[in-house]
Amino acid sequence: MSYLDLSSVSKTYGGKVQAVKDLNLSINTGEIVALLGSSGCGKTSTLRMIAGFEDVTAGEIRVNGTAIHQLPPARRGVAMAFEGYSLYPPLTIRENIAFAMKAERLDAAQVETRVKDIARLVELEDVLDRYPSSVSGGQQQRASLARALVRKADLHLLDEPMGQLEPQLRALLRGRVKHFIQERGLTAILVTHDQTEANALADKIAVMEDGELQQFDTPTALKDNPANLFTGTFIGEPPMNVFPAGMRRENRQVIFGLGDGVSLAYDEARFSPDLRDRLEKNRDQIAIGVRPHAVRLSEDGLPAEVLVNQWLGDQTHIAASFAGGSIVSVIHDRAKVQAGERVGVSVAPEDLHIFDGSTGTAISHGGQLA
């Protein structure tokens, strides 16, 4: 049985703005789940409803089968790291962290040990006796994270817990925090707009957009089997290339006509029979998606003209005009091609993501029905 259940949860602000629409989500004990989405997608509203700082307009939130959405925050057994840090200014960092454990009624030595342990984890030992106003934003954020993690709670809610940290520290803390959470078997929900963070920390990711849950799956599944065009283009860096297309069958081949008379032709055996039937139904309304890593540049491919060649230090991003639009390819090495040069583009059938062109729903991934 799942541990935290959100069933048909909706949030409407002022009777007009629908921040969260009919959200269903089940989280198991010991899972780390990321709510991922762009600003205003409803992820923070969802988190605050779980914490109890926002009323649930409709629906239910249950922990261990007990409805908690009517309870005051104090009785929900949740710990939270706030996006705005929200440290209490008159207390030192140490007191701020210790303060969170007050309800547990520990003796001073135990509190001290736990504060020290958590401070070591988030690299805050040096500033424990300073006041929030005299430490940097990144340190305040780590203090806020420490204050949430130090508590023994049923559920840990982390709202953008690492947004202000410098990249090296962020990478280090991701590993440590994940280890800390897993080691103690804690259940955590993380809100972020950074997919690297979500991928690194979370067991499962809930992708949200416009108040609606788009897909709830493991990071790998999100990447390999996006449920719709939104998740497909939202997950992955650089984003997936998408082309509107039509489909026809000729000479035992499946041919996708892209813009500008360019077409991708494949042996029909590469597509399962039921997929071929499904594609027939949608023949004029198809969107073809290809991950930049799967775009191969070769002599004998379809014609494209290089627009930009960007070397990022560890990989090259090449943007080329292709089929009436542009296509981005990632190469794990320096590439010599220059802007204006002609290159050939090819895509293997197993790398194709095919979506319904009108609804955006996924039809197939790699030749198999989605």
């Binding site: 914490a51 109890g52 700082f53 005051p72 925050p73 104090a74 009785r75 929900r76 949740v78 710990a79 939270m80 706030f82 996006e83 705005g84 840090y85 929200s86 440290l87 209490y88 200014p89 008159p90 303060f99 969170a100 007050k102 309800a103 929030p132 106003s133 934003g137 305040q140 806020s144 204050r147 508590r151």
Partner: protein, 285 residues
């Protein structure tokens, strides 16, 4: 600190001195007057060289007004006491009512909350005399006229909006998440209000209370209309110095010195709260 040349520092000092003298002069002059007899005050041209006397203070504290014609009793010390009771009482009541209300207005947007808050502010718009005359009639009917409680109630017209609006701003400056962080650690909203919000807004509450106290202390018209002799504060009591045999400037000055002392002392004491109040904005929200 910036580095300045000595000349610059001297000039700056002189400029500050002029400003201080300009603003403090009336108080300084009153202080001098309070130490003179009516004769030395009224001589022409005025001079700051005189033989100081404490007779004015003695007369006021003893409650006897001796003019060159006659001697009459005044009750200035009980006026002073009335001022203290009325001002402290109204500020206390306004704090008890206004601070929770300010918190509610700052944290909860309920239907009509802005209208109610504005209505409370609008008490300050009406000319007091307009409300006072009908109020007097009502107060006489329900037996509140000429009582401390009735006066303190009416003084809420001055104190409550002031405290409500100033303190509301301070509460709004505190990030709600600071309170949330405390609540989620297992505390009720009331203990959050008491342990987190109140201490954080304390400088603002002190500043608002001080202002309200000064306004209440300086009020004249409410007490003039609603209070009889034994409930009158100093502002109304000072009228007694205008006697048939002339205006007792020396005693008025001594009375003024006595009556501004509490507010002045309070303001000096609360200065650090006002400064803290200003730095509250530095808290990351």
């Amino acid at each position: 600190m910036h580095h300045h040349s000595p000349i610059e520092r001297v000039l700056r000092g002189i400029a500050l001195l002029i400003v201080v003298l300009f603003f403090m002069f009336p108080i300084f002059w009153i202080l001098l007057m309070s130490l003179q007899t009516n004769e030395t005050i009224l001589r022409s041209p005025p001079s700051i060289v005189f033989e100081p006397t404490l007779s004015n203070y003695a007369a006021i504290i003893a409650g006897r007004l001796d003019s060159n014609v006659a001697s009459m009793g005044i009750d200035f010390m009980s006026n002073l006491m009335n001022s203290v009771i009325l001002s402290v009482g109204s500020v206390a009541l306004a704090l008890v009512l206004g601070v929770p209300a300010a918190y509610a207005f700052a944290r909860h947007k309920f239907r009509g909350s802005e209208d109610i808050a504005f209505t409370l502010l609008s008490f300050r718009f009406a000319p007091p005399l307009l409300v006072l005359l009908p109020l007097t009639l009502y107060f006489q009917q329900i037996g509140l006229a000429d009582t401390y409680f009735g006066l303190i109630w009416v003084y809420q017209l001055i104190c409550l909006p002031l405290i409500l609006w100033i303190v509301r701003g301070y509460f709004e400056d505190i990030s709600p998440d600071v309170e949330h962080a405390y609540r989620i650690a297992g505390h009720s909203w009331f203990s959050t209000f008491r342990r987190i919000s109140l201490p954080l807004a304390a400088p603002g509450i002190a500043a608002a209370a001080l202002l309200a106290f000064i306004f209440a202390w300086n009020n004249f018209i409410f007490a003039l209309v609603l209070a009889s002799a034994d409930k009158q504060p100093v502002t109304v009591g000072a009228l007694a110095f205008v006697t048939a045999s002339g205006i007792q400037y020396g005693q008025i000055a001594a009375a003024v010195v006595l009556s501004i002392t509490p507010t002045l002392a309070l303001a000096l004491y609360a200065q650090r709260y006002l400064v803290e109040g200003l730095s509250l904005g530095a808290v990351k929200g």
